[in-house]
C-alpha cells in the first residue's frame, strides 16, 4: 500500500516568478549532479574526451609546427607559443559536438519526454547541461594547460591576465555549448549528430588557430579573422603576451580589438541561442 498512501503530497502552492527562478536554479543543479555522476561512473569515456585534445596538441606542435614559420624567424621558431593559445581555443571550439551528441541521445531515449511531462523547470535541462559541460571544459583546459607547460609553453602575462584568458576561453565554450544544445535538440537522431563535424571543423580550422589569417587567400582570411574562435585565440595570445605577436601587424580591424571581440562575440551568441534552445526544448516534437 505504500505506493500511494505514503506518497509525498503534491505541492499545489501557486508559483510566483520568484519561486520559479529559485526552482529553475535548483533543478539546474540536480541536472548538473546527474551529469557529474555520469563522469564518475565512466572515467574511461572522460579520459578519451580529454585524450583527444591532448593528442591534437602534441600532433600539431610537433608534426606541423616544425615546418611553419609564424614569427618570421625561421620554421618551427616560436611555434609552440603561437600554437598553444590556438590549441586552447580549438579545444573549446570542437568540444561542443559532445554536447550536441549528448542532447540528441537524451532526446532519442525519451528522457526529454519524461522531463517535459514533469513539473520541473523547463529551462533546467538546457542550463543544467550548459553548466555541467562548461565545468567539464574547465577540466579539459586544466589538463591541456598541464601538457602545454610540460612541452615548454609559458604565459608571459600577469596572473590576472592569464586567468582572464582562461575565463574568455570558457566564455566562448559556453556560447558554443548553447549552440550545441540547440542543434542537438533540432537534430533527429544521434547518427545525424555525427555529421556536426561538418560544422565544427570549419569553425575550428578557418580561424587564426593554426595559421595567421594574413597568410590565407583574402576572402578566406577575412572569414577566419571574423570567426569568434579567432577573436578568442587572438585575445588570449595578447593576454598570454605570446612572443612574436607584435611582429604580426593586425591587418583586420577585429584583430586589433580582440579582447573586446572575445567578450562580445560569445555574449551575442549566448543571447541568441539560450532563448532559442529553451524554446526548442519546450516545443520539442509538438
Amino acid at each position: 500500500m505504500t505506493t500511494t498512501q505514503s506518497a509525498p503530497a503534491v505541492s499545489t502552492a501557486p508559483e510566483t516568478s520568484g519561486s520559479r527562478f529559485i526552482w529553475s536554479i535548483r533543478d539546474c543543479w540536480t541536472i548538473v549532479v546527474q551529469e557529474f555522476t555520469h563522469l564518475l561512473r565512466q572515467p574511461s569515456t572522460f579520459a578519451w574526451q580529454i585524450g583527444f585534445p591532448v593528442v591534437m596538441v602534441l600532433m600539431f606542435v610537433y608534426v606541423f609546427g616544425s615546418a611553419m614559420d609564424v614569427t618570421g624567424q625561421g620554421a618551427g621558431e616560436g611555434y609552440v607559443d603561437f600554437a598553444m593559445p590556438g590549441m586552447f581555443a580549438m579545444t573549446m571550439a570542437l568540444g561542443f559536438m559532445d554536447t550536441a551528441y549528448a542532447v540528441t541521445h537524451n532526446k532519442e531515449k525519451g528522457f526529454m519526454d519524461r522531463f517535459r511531462s514533469m513539473p520541473m523547470s523547463s529551462s533546467a535541462p538546457v542550463t543544467g547541461r550548459a553548466v555541467s559541460d562548461v565545468i567539464r571544459a574547465a577540466i579539459d583546459l586544466v589538463v591541456i594547460a598541464g601538457v602545454a607547460l610540460l612541452i615548454g609553453w609559458r604565459s608571459g602575462g600577469s596572473l590576472t591576465a592569464t586567468l582572464l584568458a582562461f575565463v574568455l576561453l570558457l566564455w566562448l565554450r559556453l556560447a558554443l555549448i548553447l549552440v550545441g544544445i540547440y542543434l542537438g535538440l533540432c537534430i533527429k537522431n544521434t547518427e545525424t549528430a555525427g555529421m556536426l563535424f561538418a560544422v565544427a571543423f570549419p569553425l575550428g580550422f578557418i580561424s587564426s588557430v593554426f595559421t595567421p589569417p594574413e597568410m590565407m587567400p583574402g576572402w578566406l582570411g577575412a572569414i577566419a579573422a571574423w570567426n569568434p574562435v579567432s577573436s578568442t585565440a587572438t585575445a588570449i595570445r595578447e593576454l598570454f603576451e605570446t612572443p612574436g605577436i607584435q611582429a604580426l601587424e593586425p591587418s583586420y580591424w577585429i584583430d586589433g580589438h580582440a579582447i573586446g571581440a572575445a567578450i562580445i562575440w560569445p555574449a551575442v551568441i549566448i543571447l541568441i541561442f539560450l532563448p532559442l534552445a529553451v524554446r526548442q526544448y519546450r516545443l520539442l516534437s509538438r
Binding site: P8, D27, T30, R41, G110, D113, M120
Partner: protein, 319 residues
C-alpha cells in the same frame, strides 16, 4: 470536489502535415479505473497519450486531466500525472536508487524526502536488491519496473502507460502486469495503451478500440471479447455434391444459417460455445454419413478482430 472523470477528452485532432494522426478521439476515464487504448500500430495511441500528458498540443478538440485543461494549464496537469512512455526513460549511468532520487528532486522533494521515497518505491517494485546497480544490466522487466517507479514518485492522479510490455519476454510481461495490477488495486487511475488484446483483457476495466485516429468501440473486456473474439465453426465437405446436405444439417443442429465459402464446399458459422457446437456437429455429421474434408474451430486473429470492429466506420484512405 474531485471530478468524476479524471480524464475527459473530446474530439481530439492532431495533424502531421497531411496526415491526421488523430481524427476526433473521445475519452472519458472515471477515477480509480484502468482504461485501455487498444489499437494496431499507427492507430494514434501514443499521440493521444502525448496530448494528455502535455507533451503535444492538439490541433482540435479539448482535454481535461484531473480537472485542468491540458493546453491552458499544462503545469497543473504535470503536477498530477505520471508518464511511462513507449521507451524506457531511465538513466543508464545512474544506479536505480540515484535515478529515483534524481526524479524525486525534480518533483520538488527535498533531499531526504527524495531518498526516502526512492527506497520506498524500490521496495514496492521489488528492486531493493538491485538498488545500487545501474539499469544497463537490468532485465527488460526490471527496467520497466524502475521506469514505473519513477512515474509514481508523487502518486499521480493519472498514470499513463504507453505499451508497457512491448518488447518484453513473457517473464517481464508478467512482472509488469503484476506491478500495474498492484497500482490499480491501490486506486491509481491508469490509462494504458497496448496492441495486445490479452493484455488489455487482463489489466483493464474498460477498453477503447481506436484506429486511424478515431474511436470505434468502447466496452468492458468481456463485452469486447464477445464482439470480436467469437469463435467460428468451419466444416468442409469432401464431395462438393454433398454441400447442400451438410448445410441443411448444420442449420438444423446449430439452429443458425451457415455462411458458404469456396463455391459451396465450406460452411462456417459463429458459435458461442465452440466445444459443444463442434462435438454435436461432428456427431450429427457422422450419424448422417457425410464425408468431410475438414472440421475445426477458428478464433479470429487480432488483425481480423480490428478489421471487424473498424470495418463499418473505417475512413477511406487515399494512400
Amino acid at each position: 470536489m474531485p471530478p468524476e472523470f479524471v480524464i475527459q477528452a473530446s474530439g481530439l485532432v492532431k495533424r502531421y502535415g497531411e496526415k491526421r494522426a488523430l481524427d476526433g478521439v473521445d475519452l472519458q476515464v472515471p477515477r480509480g479505473t484502468v482504461h485501455g487504448l487498444l489499437g494496431p500500430n499507427g492507430a494514434g495511441k501514443t499521440t493521444t497519450v502525448r496530448i494528455l500528458s502535455t507533451l503535444t498540443t492538439p490541433d482540435g478538440g479539448q482535454a481535461e486531466v484531473a480537472g485542468y485543461d491540458v493546453a491552458a494549464q499544462p503545469r497543473e496537469v504535470r503536477r498530477r500525472i505520471g508518464l511511462t512512455g513507449q521507451q524506457t526513460a531511465v538513466d543508464d549511468l545512474l544506479s536505480a536508487r540515484q535515478n529515483l532520487t534524481m526524479f524525486g528532486r525534480l518533483f520538488r522533494l527535498d533531499k531526504s524526502a527524495a531518498q526516502k521515497r526512492a527506497d520506498q518505491l524500490l521496495e514496492v517494485f521489488g528492486l531493493t536488491e538491485a538498488a545500487s546497480r545501474t539499469p544497463k544490466k537490468f532485465s527488460g522487466g526490471m527496467r520497466r519496473r524502475l521506469d514505473l517507479a519513477a512515474s509514481m514518485i508523487l502518486a499521480p492522479e493519472v498514470l499513463y502507460l504507453d505499451e508497457p510490455t512491448t518488447g518484453l519476454d513473457p517473464a517481464g510481461r508478467r512482472e509488469v502486469w503484476e506491478a500495474v495490477q498492484n497500482l490499480a488495486a491501490e486506486g491509481t487511475t491508469v490509462l494504458l495503451t497496448t496492441h495486445y488484446l490479452d493484455e488489455a483483457d487482463k489489466l483493464c476495466d474498460r477498453i477503447s478500440v481506436i484506429d486511424h485516429g478515431m474511436n470505434f468501440v468502447e466496452d468492458t473486456p468481456a463485452g469486447l471479447k464477445q464482439r470480436i473474439g467469437q469463435e467460428r465453426l468451419e466444416v468442409a465437405v469432401a464431395d462438393p455434391a454433398e454441400g447442400l446436405r451438410l448445410k441443411a444439417l448444420l442449420q438444423q443442429v446449430l439452429s443458425a444459417e451457415p455462411a458458404e465459402e469456396d463455391q459451396g464446399t465450406k460452411f462456417s458459422l459463429l458459435v458461442t460455445d465452440g466445444v459443444s457446437a463442434l462435438t454435436s456437429a461432428a456427431a450429427a455429421i457422422s450419424a448422417e454419413g457425410i464425408e468431410i474434408a475438414d472440421i475445426g474451430l477458428r478464433r479470429p486473429t487480432l488483425d481480423e478482430a480490428f478489421l471487424h470492429l473498424t470495418a463499418k466506420t473505417a475512413p477511406q484512405e487515399t494512400s
